[in-house]
Homo-oligomer: 430 residues x 2
């Protein structure tokens, strides 16, 4: 780590809070640094759609004072437009902050700007660039949030995931990403795509930063819980029905992560995907489509050609799903949740690929959500661990999944794995 | 029933649709009648905060053409302000319709206006009058919606329930009310108070009207399902821990309803409340408070004295609830849901009081939600059946509760009970 947290390539929540606590800098210094970095670099990256006015009221006492946060532009903010990445919401100004935004502000964080989202958090790509893999997609739908953290512009960012929209961009941009247990973070004031799937999530430079951020926003103990070592942990190497989608380098990354954990004392066991979970994954499309076609019915009906073609196709298809098919899919999802809980009777955590491979070249697609969407459906906590790469240096994220409600455990094990990866690569956290 | 549906004291969904189908009138006639009734009577009642512009595009073909709907002013509407009953939202204009509003419009219904809600659907009373019990509260928080149907202004209305805000005003205003299974009707675009409790609901003149309305909005089969008779039904007379709150006339109303069902061939069995359900009811306050303090954090922080005192007290208390206490309450709620499901292994439906008694005199309180809130927490479908009264003629609603997801069964049994009550009182539906 560089000596001063404001000189490091990325802004780390932990290092910033420590430096402020030690009076090596002020909260105002930290926020100004973030603003300078954005001013200097965002024309290259395109992570932000809007920046907040500089308000000088920086308390140094509050638990997140000095922490700059970029907020995906589907969360309401009272002081900036919330345009949902859609021409239908151009200039839209909510009156009050979304719950998560209000919680972050009340903890003293600075909402520094709104980040690029694909239209209504769907899959039509925008032109945000991937800071660590030029010429490759940063992933979506939380494209700008992941890019803003990866570029070192902000210490943290808010995103959302209905399929894989937090875990995939975190993987593609080589940063830590956290999709908490369903509804651990409130989604009030966040635009709905699918009410049984939409999950608010967080990005930060490292897993330890994520845990600290989540702890201080929610008031829940999510750090310092036996972070110690991997000794005695039982990790399931989850063999999914869709593993044939995997790029061979992702398969190798999972193998490498497993070996690191094993060397550190964990027991690795193979776990074949139960049928209920394969079927759960298959039900995702029906649930998402049915709910999106209702949640966005007025936008769909009145927006017409102004909506992106991929989004329109999802809504068109969703409008044809009958209640019977939806109810059947929800039954599948319920069984999948039960099956997911059972998995953790034999292992502490699962190790799974965050995406099918490295970020695809070009900006024509935000990538494939297949790998992450099962755990969105089941609601289990997932943490993307950065640090592994392809031979060409493209990021390959791997995820730690734990039992529903055991978010601290997912963060703790993911933190351990991140440190093992860094030690193996002969370098500490950057 | 009067010969022509537009001459009856109340507008009935079924009678209107039938008359349009039979070409005895047009959809335009039906909507104009509703507008005339509001113009003539709402200065007395105060059910509406805003009326829609008359748009002449009335299709007679659509499944709900001719049906006038009043919408609680916490549902977004693109063509009218959505002021949430709060000075904080004065003049607020959403860009798009809430999901339920869009669904109703897409089925051909006319959203005729926005109805009075208590502030942010909480409990500080407004001044809507009770059309059937002058000088008594219409209940809340869906005060205007219940009053608009009871006064005969509209064929139907939308409301929401976090404690008892659909079932109680329906009971107090002597109309039919439907709190469906949790999330049967989407809450997207409806202001959130408590995300695990908020439930969108419907009001209509009779239970049969409710079923028809709900069927045509959702595309689910909710009518014509063995409506036949009570023969062979097993109905649980639910003895709740809070029954000492009950007014003696409500206890008598429940007894009268039970006797009518029994005479029609149902078997009535006493059912003592399981401890898990009493504890579930007790957990409601913790869950509601914790979630409301987060969902409305920005309004709470910035609204200060502009918020009503009762709402502010709920938010102040909710802000002190720790995550541990909330998690404990959610575990109670989960156990209560399981216990509720078990109840229906021995009975088809429960018969419960909709409120603790008739509408209290005056407008200083919207009444007590204790009776209804348990079923909001468990998510079971509940239908308020009107028709019984105190000796002084004040309305006493009784509710039919069925298993989660069996909304058709709740509507069917409630419809049967309503007809028995009407037959007993020697009069058909008015």
């Amino acid at each position: 780590m560089t000596d001063h947290p404001l000189e490091a390539p990325r802004l780390h929540v932990g290092a910033i809070l420590k430096a402020i606590e030690d009076r090596r800098m002020t909260a105002v210094d930290a926020i100004e640094a973030a603003r300078r970095r954005i001013a200097a670099g965002d024309s290259e990256i395109g992570a932000f759609v809007c920046l907040a006015e500089d308000d000088a009221r920086q308390s140094t006492e509050a638990p997140l004072a000095g922490i700059s946060i970029g907020v995906k532009d589907i969360f309401d903010t009272h002081d900036m437009p919330t345009e949902m990445g859609s021409p239908l919401y151009e200039g839209h100004r909510p009156r009050f902050d979304a719950a998560l935004v209000a919680m972050a502000r009340s903890a003293g964080a600075t909402i520094i700007g709104k980040t690029v989202t694909t239209e209504l958090a769907s899959i039509d790509p925008k032109d945000t660039r991937n800071p660590v893999a030029p010429g490759h997609t940063p992933g979506g739908s939380s494209s700008g949030s992941a890019a803003a953290v990866a570029a070192g512009f902000v210490a943290a960012a808010f995103g959302s995931q209905t399929g894989g929209s937090v875990i995939r961009p975190a993987s593609f941009c080589g940063i830590a990403g956290f999709k908490p247990s369903f509804r651990l973070l409130p989604t009030v004031g966040m635009k709905t795509f699918s009410w049984s799937l939409d999950t608010a999530g967080l990005f930060a430079a490292s897993v330890a930063d994520l845990a600290l951020l989540a702890e201080r926003i929610t008031g829940r103990p999510l750090t310092s819980l036996s972070a110690a070592d991997a000794n005695g942990l039982k990790i399931g190497l989850y063999r999914a029905k869709v593993d044939d989608h995997l790029d061979h380098e992702m398969t190798e990354a999972i193998g490498a992560a497993a070996r690191l954990l094993e060397r550190a004392g964990a027991r690795i066991v193979d776990l074949a995907e139960p049928a209920a979970l394969s079927e759960g994954r298959d039900s995702h499309r029906t649930i998402q489509g049915f709910e999106a076609a209702r949640a966005l019915m007025h936008e769909h009906v009145s927006g017409g050609d102004r909506l992106g073609p991929k989004l329109r196709a999802i809504l068109d298809e969703g409008a044809t799903v009958e209640p019977d098919a939806y109810d059947g899919a929800r039954r599948c999802a319920r069984l999948a949740r039960k099956a997911a809980t059972s998995l953790f009777e034999t292992v502490d955590a699962l190790l799974v690929p965050s995406a099918s491979g490295p970020p695809p070249a070009g900006l024509a697609s935000t990538g494939d959500p297949t790998m992450a969407k099962l755990w969105t459906l089941t609601g289990n906590p997932v943490v993307n661990v950065p640090g592994l790469t392809t031979s060409a240096g493209l990021p390959l994220g791997v995820s730690i999944v734990t039992r529903f409600g055991r978010d601290w455990e997912a963060l703790t094990i993911a933190d351990r794995l991140e440190r093992l990866i860094q030690a193996d690569r002969g370098r500490p956290s950057e």
